[in-house]
């Protein structure tokens, strides 16, 4: 039995304040089930990934009144969690241990008076301790600092430039113009990127993703069952994870190569496709740099060539490798690894409106968590796998 995504639920996203993360999650699951043409009682699996506030949790089952689940777990792999949840759901559906699994993430880091910095930059209220405490004392905190050092190393080794990174941001902003859910749609130029404030050099503000409140969910079921449901099935052809570990020692490839180099080829092999078969990519874009290094590690260009590749326009509207076609986390909204998944499912269904790409047979999706410590890849398609049609 092969697996397909049969339902998609996306709540209001952005600066929406009333519901808690758990409420966003419950709403997303209800929306996804309804989208699939299922009722909540049809679900026998629930996978939950908590956001910055530690919710939603397993108690989402109680909030939704779900009974007799055959699969229930919290998944903690940061930005790789949504793709990991779908992988686990696909395994469960393929083995028969569950038949309809909701995978959900929600977060509510923004408050009416707070800033993105308050959401992700605040240290713990107690005095930090030990070596983690030393990093706080040094000021080596927040993802901005560590991703900046990763990007710097890539630049120093391969000649990547800030303008190369800017090309990624500019291309995604152009895509966002066609996405009604996008928070930022006004056109952007590389000059705008270069003139945006430096956050932690070499990263400018326009290299960094947004922070959003909201929730997203998908329903994974068997391809056979999905055929009879309300939406065009989106088949899960391949999946893989990679958790390379952090090597604080001479010879470490920090910033140069990531877990994508292992997970990408593995997922494509499972799907029976190669990079030349891929029609579009939806790549986790915590930062512009994350997209660049993932493209290289997946093999869409040679190692070190990601900057020129982006600057050549392959990724933007009109290019031959459409990338982050909804604007991504840089321009549309941030729901961690669900941002690329939602866009991939929307494109695979052919429901992307004015931003719909023509060729959508093979879609590669990435998730990335921590500072390049956790990676997940999905290969999705509107077509059922070979031999099952």
């Amino acid at each position: 039995m092969t697996a397909a995504i049969a339902g998609l639920g996306l709540t209001e996203v952005g600066k929406v304040y009333d519901p808690s993360a758990s409420d966003f999650a419950a709403k997303a699951v209800r929306l996804a089930a309804a989208d699939a043409g299922l009722t909540l009682s049809d679900l026998d699996g629930l996978l939950v990934s908590p956001g910055t506030q530690g919710r939603p949790t397993l108690s989402l089952q109680k909030q939704l009144g779900l009974r007799d689940l055959r699969l229930l777990n919290e998944i903690h792999a940061l930005g790789a969690s949504p793709a990991n949840m779908i992988s686990i759901a696909a395994d469960a559906v393929s083995s028969g241990s569950a038949s309809a699994v909701a995978c959900v993430f929600a977060d509510a880091p923004l408050t009416p008076k707070g800033s993105a910095r308050d959401a992700f930059g605040s240290g713990p209220r107690r005095t930090p301790t030990g070596f983690a405490g030393l990093n706080v004392g040094l000021g080596a905190i927040t993802p901005n600092v560590f991703y900046a050092m990763a990007a710097r190393r890539h630049m120093q080794n391969y000649g990547t430039t800030s303008a190369h990174l800017g090309a990624i941001a500019v291309g995604q902003r152009a895509w966002a113009a066609g996405n009604p859910d996008a928070q930022f749609t006004e056109p952007m130029t590389v000059d705008d990127h270069q003139n945006s404030p430096v956050v932690a050099d070499p990263l400018h503000l326009l290299d960094c993703c947004l922070v959003s409140n909201g929730g997203a969910a998908v329903i994974v079921t068997s391809a056979e069952r999905a055929r009879d449901l309300a939406q065009p099935p989106v088949h899960v052809l391949g999946w893989a994870q990679s958790h390379p570990g952090q090597v604080m020692l001479r010879g470490s490839d920090f910033g140069l190569r990531t877990g994508a180099a292992q997970a990408g080829p593995a997922a494509m092999k499972m799907a029976g496709v190669g990079v030349s078969d891929v029609d579009l990519v939806e790549l986790y874009d915590s930062y512009t740099y994350t997209v660049l290094v993932t493209l290289e590690d997946y093999g869409f260009c040679a190692k070190g060539e990601g900057g020129p590749f982006a600057a050549e326009g392959h990724l933007a509207p009109g290019g031959d490798l459409p990338c982050n076609t909804g604007g991504g986390q840089l321009s549309s909204y941030y729901l961690t690894g669900f941002t690329p998944i939602i866009e991939a499912v929307t494109q695979a269904r052919g429901h992307a409106g004015e931003r719909q790409v023509a060729k959508r047979e093979v879609i590669v999706v990435s998730g990335s968590g921590g500072v390049l410590e956790h990676h997940a890849t999905l290969v999705l398609s509107p077509n059922a796998p070979e031999g099952t049609r």
């Binding site: 030990g130 030393l134 990093n135 004392g137 080596a140 901005n144 710097r152 020692l249 001479r250």
Partner: protein, 141 residues
């Protein structure tokens, strides 16, 4: 030991795993871990040897010299505690013995990977001493 930087860098506390490291810093020594099984030198926070999986590690004094792996000048304060401290430079330093450390550079903005650096020590006002690094005059390696 360099002059103490009296600016209000955030407070932190030692724990049992880091106590020897901070005691050493107070003496002006940079401590790293050494694997008793295979002699590999490891970063201070290590619990397992990356070469042989050994867990018998001891503290050993590092020379305090190394080279720059990467860096960033932090312009936007990560949180309110850093409002008056930006800009400052965070770096990854590769010690001569091999381990990598996250650190802060005391002054000067680097220009190239591989620039030589050496350890200095600072103290959180009323708190722990800790290592920071400075660019060493000379030709980049």
């Amino acid at each position: 030991m360099s002059e103490t930087d009296n600016r209000a860098w955030p407070q932190f506390q030692r724990d049992s795993k880091s106590a020897a490291f901070f005691d050493a810093a107070a003496r002006g020594e940079l401590f790293i871990r050494r694997c008793l099984t295979c002699d590999q030198r490891l970063a201070p926070e290590s619990g397992t040897c990356l070469t042989c999986d050994g867990t018998d590690l001891e503290w050993t004094r590092a020379e305090g010299t190394g080279s720059l792996v990467t860096w960033t000048v932090v312009e936007r304060p990560p949180n309110r505690a850093f409002t008056t401290l930006v800009p400052y430079t965070i770096a990854v330093v590769e010690l001569t013995e091999g381990p990598w450390l996250y650190t802060r550079l005391t002054e000067g903005v680097p220009t190239a990977v591989g620039q030589p650096v050496h350890v200095e020590f600072q103290q959180v006002p009323g708190g722990e001493h800790y290592p920071v690094f400075a660019l060493t005059e000379g030709t980049p390696q």
